[in-house]
Each structure stands twice: as C-alpha cells, then as structure tokens.
C-alpha cells in the first residue's frame, strides 16, 4: 500500500480504532493531529531498469521517442521524461499482440537502417532517421497499416506522446496536464 494512501485511510478512521491494540490518545485528540508525511514516488528517487526490449530494440525506441517528442518551446521531451524506459515496462506488461507490434517494428527499423545506412537505427543522424519515419507523414486511416514498421510507428506516436505528457517532468508547473479524478477501489 502506498504511504500516501495509508495516511489517507488513517485520517478517515475514528481515533479509538487506529491500529489495533494501541492505546487511544488523550481525550479530544484527533487523527488530524498526526504529522503529514510527504512520501516520494519511485521514479523521483530511483531509475527504472529496462528488461523487456533487447539492447538494440531499446536503443531504437529511445531514438524513435526522441524524434516523435523532442523538447519543444521549453517543454521536456521524451528523453527527459523517460518515455522509452516507461514503455519498456508498459509494453512488457501488455498482451502478446501489442508486444509483437513493438518488437517487430523496432527490429524492422533496425533492419532498414542497416540496409540503407549500414548502421543501427539509433546511430543514424536525424536526417537519415526521418527517412525511415516517413510513414508517420501519411494521412490517418481507420485500419492499421500492414507494414510492421508503419504499424509500430503509429502505436509509438500515441504512446510516446502520452508517456511524455503524463510524466512528472512534463507535468511540473502545468496544472491540468495528466491529472484526473481518481477512483479508489469501492468498499
């Protein structure tokens, strides 16, 4: 249980019932008297450990993320937001189809880069990489593209943007970005 949630619950309990077996405080004491501790999120105190993609796939994903969502007008981009690191976790936790879209797409990008420029996608300069991201310039259609790279790029465009804009780094100082009314589990 997250500590913030724990204190939220604690604050809602009658004083006499707080922590079974512990003596109630002095008469008139309120749970509100408990000190308010501000815990930290793991992302702000530690670094994620990517484990799903291969090193080559992950390097290509970081490069793709940087191109899709670079820093613009002072806003942090995907690299600062750790979008690729988060997607390594998210995609690794997703169903087989979504995992395949990413893996096949990243492998395809690396294969195309190798074939056209004789190096992996992550090592391309931006002008070279832009050539391989050309499918993102096509008009949107309801049906997913058949080409694995085009299909991956379409998914990555949406996911990288969301991962970036929902990050702590991007949300800092923006009141309404990436926030919402969260429902706790029903009693």
């Amino acid at each position: 249980m997250k500590r913030r949630r724990f204190f939220h619950i604690l604050a809602a309990l009658p004083a006499a019932s707080v922590l079974h077996g512990q003596q109630a405080g002095p008469a008139g004491a309120s749970p509100d008297d408990l000190p308010k501790l501000e815990p930290s999120l793991p992302d702000s105190a530690a670094d994620p450990v990517p484990h799903f993609f291969t090193a080559a796939q992950f390097a290509a994903l970081r490069k793709t993320a940087d191109l899709i969502m670079p820093p613009v007008n002072g806003s942090p981009g995907a690299l600062t937001a750790g979008a690729a690191e988060f997607l390594d976790f998210l995609i690794g936790d997703s169903d087989a189809e979504r995992r395949h879209v990413y893996r096949a797409g990243l492998d395809g990008l690396n294969a195309q880069a190798q074939k056209r420029f004789n190096k992996p996608f992550a090592d391309l300069d931006n002008a070279q990489a832009d050539l391989l991201l050309a499918p993102l310039g096509q008009p949107w259609t309801f049906d997913e593209p058949d080409d694995p790279v085009a299909r991956f790029l379409r998914a990555a465009k949406a996911d990288v943007r969301t991962a970036t804009m929902n990050s702590r780094e991007y949300g800092a100082g923006r009141r309404f970005v990436g926030s919402g009314l969260y429902w706790y589990p029903l009693d």
């Binding site: 008009p139 949107w140 259609t141 465009k157 969301t162 919402g180 969260y182 429902w183 029903l186 009693d187």
Partner: protein, 520 residues
C-alpha cells in the same frame, strides 16, 4: 423469526428503479430497494491525482477492462470488474457490456443527453414496415415526459421537429458561434435541422437518481435501501404463480438472503433484469425473453476536419446536435431504413493521431489547429432483430455463483449502410461550411459501447410476441414489472434515459392503481 414483507421490492437503484421508488413511496407504498453495489461516499472515494502517481501513468493496467472503452486508469474502479462478474461471447462478435454497480447506477455517469422518442420510433412499423410498433405512442407517454423533464432540469430549445418532440425545457437561448452559423446554413439548404443539445442540468455535480429521486423517496419514510445485495433470482409462490420476492447474496459476506414483497419491480438495467428473469426461469411463455437486443451504433470521431476560416469559434457555442433527417417521408428513401443523429462540435483540438507528422512539426500543427477542429459522434438506430440475443451461459458463473450471460449480437447491413451515409453527409456539410477533412471513418464500436442496451423484455399487446404489456407488466405474472430499457421495442437514435424514466413513472402509477384495486 417473522419475515419482513414490503409492498414492492425494487431491484436496482438507477434511473428506472429510482423513478419507481420516487413515484411509489410518495404515494405511501412501502418499498424495499436492493442494489448490487455500495452506497458510495463520493468525497472519500475520489481524489484528483496526477497520472504519474498511478502505476501505469494513466495508460491503465493492460487487459483489466477489455470491454470498457470508456475506462481509464483514473476511473477503472468505478466499473464492474469483469473478473468478478464476467460474461461470454464468441470472440468474433464481441459485446461491450459496460456496467456500474453502485447505488444510483449508471445515472451517476450518463452523458445527460435528454431526448424524447417520436412516433417515428413508437410506430416505426407503420412507417417503414420493419419489426413491430410499440403498444403506445408519443401522445400517451408525453404527460410523463413532461413531468420527468423538470425533475432532471432538461435544457434545450424548442424546435417543433416531428422527429424529436419538444419537451419542458429550461430554455437554452445561447448564441451560436460564427462557424456554427456557417454549418447551420449549409444544413438548412439540405433540409437538415440543427438543434442545441438537450441535456439534463440536474443539481450540483449530478443528474442522477441518487440526488434527484432517492432523497425524496427516503424522506417519505417509505423506502428501505439495501446496498451490496446481489440478486440471484426471483421466487414464485407455487400456489398462485405470482412472484413473492428475491433471493440475494450479500456482496461482502456472501450470505444468502431472501426479501419478500407483494409486487416485484425489476429496474436492474436491461441486461441484468433479463439475466435475473432467465435465471429465475419465469416470464417467458412468449419465448422472446433475451431476444431483440439492440442499442445504438456509435462512431466516434467519424469526421475530423479543420476550419480554414479565422475566428470561427467566436461569438457563441460551437456544439450542436442534428436529429434524424433521413427516411422521414416514405421511410425508405435511402438504401437503409431508420436514421441517425450527429452530436458534434466545431471548435475542438484534433487528437495528434489524426495529424500527419511528428516532432516539432506536429506540435506546430496542433497549436495552429487548436480550437478549430470539427468532430462528430454518429449515433445510429440499430434494428431490433430476433437473432440478437442474450442467454444463460451453461458453464460460467460469477463470483457469487450466479450463472452469467452469453451474448450473440452483431450489427447488420442496415447499420453499415447507415453509417457510411452519415459519415459522407457530415463530411459534405463540413466541407461546404469551409472545413478541410483531416480524417474520417464509418466503423462503429462493438455493440454495447453506447451503454444503451435495450429490448430484451420487449413490450407489446400480444403475449405470444412480447414479455411485457404496455404497462411494463409481465404478461405471465401480473405482480411482476420490468421498468428499465429492456421493455423497448425500438430504440431509435436517441439516448434512452428520458424514455426509461417516463415509462418507469407511468408503470409505477399504473401499479399503484392496480394495488389499490387489489388486482395485484
């Protein structure tokens, strides 16, 4: 221990159950209401949080609610857990059954779009020959609509449209934006009406049975609400053949309980009420219980277009509603029957996925398009077909040991042709009004997405072809009423809540008369 007995047992506390309680208790009828979910304290249950504070940073836990497209990581806990209360369907024909279990039901979360059905729906067979007519018409239900609308404070503008009858509105006199005036002019040239949205204002945060119906019912002292009561089935007096109560399971303890009453009202939602009846093996001498499942097709972002003129979003509201405008003459003017509506806005910002490009170029385009994008949700009538059916799954049970529903439901050619027509028409209107199309499609969400499930206990005059009579009363069991959307014969293109509320009020008043006359 003597068993408690109530005048009326109401199962479900949403729009229909809430209206039954509101109507009956104010006339002195002692009611017991069971709801499968908790009575939620909204102040304690919700909190504004940042996406990055959530485990999946706002993406949602993969695979948690595969049938609820409306679910986000923020609101995932408000929907019924599909593992706790599953259902089954052929993988090739999915049904998105979107459910809420808490006191107030789906009326806590509805979009508040508040329309009447017209005689194009009530007497649809007379108009185009398909299906069945309702056993009532608009004139018969109109007095009840007129009493429901002020309770929910429906805002709107009277337009005098036969296909969308006016109601008792709180007048919406707000002006249109410049781009809307352009759009309306184009629509008018094609004999297409554009209206202000008709929407329930409610009170405070909600337009729900929880704040508009149940408090008044409770104040009478005649209503007892038991939350967390998951109804297993209804019980029948073997001597009389009448229903006499319900077996239910306490959601927390799993304790089996029985509630007794003189009359039973099902208002548990179309499909939960049907499931209870199917599990009870009653009220189905017609054989149509569970059949004729229909809802409305929903195509979201059917057309996304950009206003090429500057300042189009200035001067007033940019959201509107286009009620059905096709097949109003012979009923068969197009290559499909019935019709559809547009719920649209001309001053949005397009989702990035519709804008080609990436990186700085994409951000620049999005900034340029901000407040200039037209988008539309197409809502089309689904024909009520016998072969679209729910039945009891012979193997799967839910967490309470109650057999679950199996769905066999899909849309047909009529729906496909209608949606293509709708997409094309909206794009043409936008283009004529000075918009440039960015993206378009005519693919509906799977059946169920609209959360407007209807028709599985249809009403009718003929007991061989319908489950309920025109008073929402079982043909087979006279002290059993079903007051939710399951009674619909056709659903039209309109959101059904106002009709459900009006039918529930009407049925409850009839029920009282019958109880007074000792007919039930």
């Amino acid at each position: 221990m003597p068993q408690k007995e109530y005048d009326v047992l109401i199962i479900g506390s949403g729009a229909s159950g809430g209206m039954a309680a509101y109507t009956l208790t104010r006339k002195g009828v002692k009611c017991l209401m069971l709801d499968a979910g908790p009575l939620v304290d909204f102040n304690r249950s919700r909190q504004v949080r940042q996406a990055y504070e959530l485990p999946y940073h706002g993406f949602g836990e993969p695979g948690r609610l595969p049938h609820v497209a409306q679910a986000t990581e923020f609101n995932a806990n408000q929907w019924v857990d599909e593992k706790e209360v599953p259902y089954t369907h052929d993988p090739k024909t999915p049904f998105n059954w979107v459910r809420v279990r808490m006191v107030g039901g789906k009326s806590l979360f509805w979009a508040r779009m508040s329309f009447r059905l017209s005689d194009y729906e009530f007497k649809a067979k007379d108009h185009d020959g398909f299906g069945e007519n309702w056993p009532i018409d608009h004139a018969e239900l109109a007095p009840f609509y007129s009493r429901v609308e002020p309770i929910f404070r429906v805002a709107g503008r009277k337009e005098g449209l036969k296909q969308l009858p006016d109601g008792e509105f709180e007048e919406d006199a707000s002006p249109w934006s410049e781009s809307m005036n352009r759009f309306i002019a184009q629509a008018k040239s094609r004999d297409i009406a554009v209206t202000k949205m008709r929407r329930s204002l409610g009170k405070g945060q909600f337009a729900s049975s929880l704040n508009l119906l149940l408090p008044e019912a409770m104040e009478t002292g005649n209503l007892t609400i038991v939350p967390n009561a998951v109804v297993r089935d209804l019980t029948v007096d073997k001597n009389t053949g009448l229903v006499n109560g319900a077996n239910f399971v306490d959601r927390h303890s799993k304790r089996e309980m029985h509630a007794k009453a003189r009359v039973v009202v099902l208002g548990a939602s179309c499909l939960e009420s049907t499931r209870i009846l199917l599990n009870s093996k009653i009220a189905n001498s017609s054989g149509v219980l569970g059949h004729y499942l229909h809802d409305q097709t929903y195509v979201t972002q059917g057309v996304v277009a950009i206003d090429k003129a500057p300042g189009g979003n200035q001067g007033g509201g940019s959201g509107g509603y286009v009620p059905r405008f096709v097949n109003l003459k012979s009923g068969k003017e197009e290559d499909f029957i019935r019709g559809y509506a547009f719920d649209f806005n001309l001053a949005g910002t397009p989702d990035a996925k519709y804008v080609p490009g990436y990186g700085a170029e994409l951000e620049k385009a999005l900034a340029e398009y901000r407040g200039k994008a037209a988008s539309v949700t197409i809502m089309g009538e689904v024909l009520a077909r016998y072969e679209n059916i729910v039945s009891i799954d012979k193997i799967v049970v839910d967490a309470y040991g109650i057999p679950v529903l199996h769905f066999q439901c899909k849309y047909g050619d009529n729906e496909t042709k209608m949606l293509k027509h709708a997409m094309t028409t909206f794009e043409e209107l936008c283009r004529a009004a000075g918009f440039e199309t960015l993206a378009k499609h005519d693919r509906p969400w799977p059946p169920g997405y609209s959360i407007h499930e209807l028709g599985t206990c249809r009403m009718g005059d003929d007991p061989k072809k319908s489950v309920l009579n025109k008073w929402n009363q079982s043909h087979d069991i006279k002290n059993l009423f079903v007051v939710d959307g399951s009674s619909f014969v056709t659903g039209g293109y309109q959101n059904p809540t106002m009709t459900i509320l009006s039918l529930a009020m009407r049925a409850s008043e009839y029920m009282m008369d019958q109880m007074k006359a000792r007919n039930i």
